[in-house]
């Protein structure tokens, strides 16, 4: 019985491994419960998860480099050539 209980509790390494699916909302209910239970008791994993979320949030704000006029002109030049060849 004790063995069964030990198996059910997550260690930090396992908790971190579940975080990608957790953030996608794709954890099976049993794993979700185990992870939330672990997070409630583990400040380090909670901090790690908060930092992962901050990282993802920062990535969501990353803008691609703006298109330069030269790059646009080059592509439009190619377009005209393709149209002429077609």
């Amino acid at each position: 019985m004790r063995f069964w209980r030990r198996r059910r509790a997550l260690v930090c390494r396992q908790a971190v491994a579940l975080m990608a699916d957790y953030l996608d909302g794709r954890l099976a209910p049993r794993d979700l419960q185990r992870l939330e239970h672990h997070l409630a008791a583990c400040p380090h994993c909670s901090e790690y998860l908060a930092q992962l979320r901050a990282t993802i949030d920062a990535l969501g704000h990353a803008e691609p480099e703006a298109l330069t006029d030269e790059a646009l002109d080059e592509l439009v030049g190619l377009y005209r050539r393709w149209r002429a060849e077609a």
């Binding site: 260690v11 930090c12 390494r13 396992q14 971190v16 491994a17 975080m19 990608a20 699916d21 996608d24 794709r26 380090h44 994993c45 901090e47 790690y48 908060a50 930092q51 992962l52 901050a54 990282t55 993802i56 949030d57 920062a58 990535l59 969501g60 704000h61 990353a62 803008e63 691609p64 480099e65 703006a66 298109l67 790059a71 646009l72 592509l75 439009v76 190619l78 377009y79 005209r80 393709w82 149209r83 077609a86």
Partner: protein, 206 residues
């Protein structure tokens, strides 16, 4: 209005309209599409082939394929997804041509656990270090600069998932990996970026 904001407010109908105009040979539709999508396509191409020069060639090939194959766009996927699929196919053949050695994909997964699986060196809190708002601004700038440090396979998944906001199943299909592999690459990429940001903020070496 910036291209990013313009893109956020676009509907499927806007895309369909542009595609119809492109089919009719309307150059202004091509200009509009390039203005909207080229920055994102170049970013994804660079994340896939690892070189700016090759990435630019790949986006040109992609636009040619788009102009020639525009009849085949059926509107079943979003235009962005359709463009990205074409681009990733082109990027794969370009990567093959270049026979790039590529960076090894054994980037350090955070291994900061002891034998029992508990943290050996726990993450230092970030929020205590600087004001939250300043922290968010700092992270947004830095994460962009750190992105090229990821191995291409991780970077590509991070770009598609976290920068472009595409769902996991779609991304796995687009790059031709299993769902589980997609998750591993994403997790490693994010973990590596978190680690680099932490090092940046003076958490110190592992």
């Amino acid at each position: 209005m910036s291209a990013a904001i313009a893109l956020a407010f676009r509907s499927v109908d806007d895309d369909v309209e542009l595609v119809e105009r492109l089919r009719a040979g309307d150059e202004s539709a091509f200009v509009a599409l390039v203005s909207l999508y080229q920055p994102r396509m170049l970013r994804l191409a660079e994340a896939t082939v690892g070189s700016r020069a090759v990435a630019e060639e790949v986006t040109q090939d992609t636009w040619l394929a788009v102009v020639r194959g525009v009849e085949r766009f059926e509107g079943r996927s979003s235009l962005k997804t359709w463009l990205f699929r074409i681009l990733l196919n082109r990027a794969r053949s370009a990567a093959g041509r270049e026979q790039r050695a590529g960076r090894p994909d054994e980037s350090i997964v955070e291994d900061r656990f002891d034998k029992s699986g508990a943290w050996a060196s726990p993450p230092e809190p970030w929020a205590d270090q600087i004001d939250d708002r300043l922290l968010a601004e700092h992270l947004a700038t830095r994460v962009q600069e750190l992105l090229p440090d990821l191995p291409d396979s991780q970077r590509r998944v991070v770009v598609l998932r976290d920068l472009e906001g595409l769902p996991p199943g779609e991304v796995a299909g687009m790059i031709g990996v299993s769902d589980g592999n997609q998750r591993v690459l994403l997790h490693r990429g994010r973990a590596r970026l978190r680690q680099l940001l932490a090092a940046d903020m003076g958490e110190g070496a592992r």
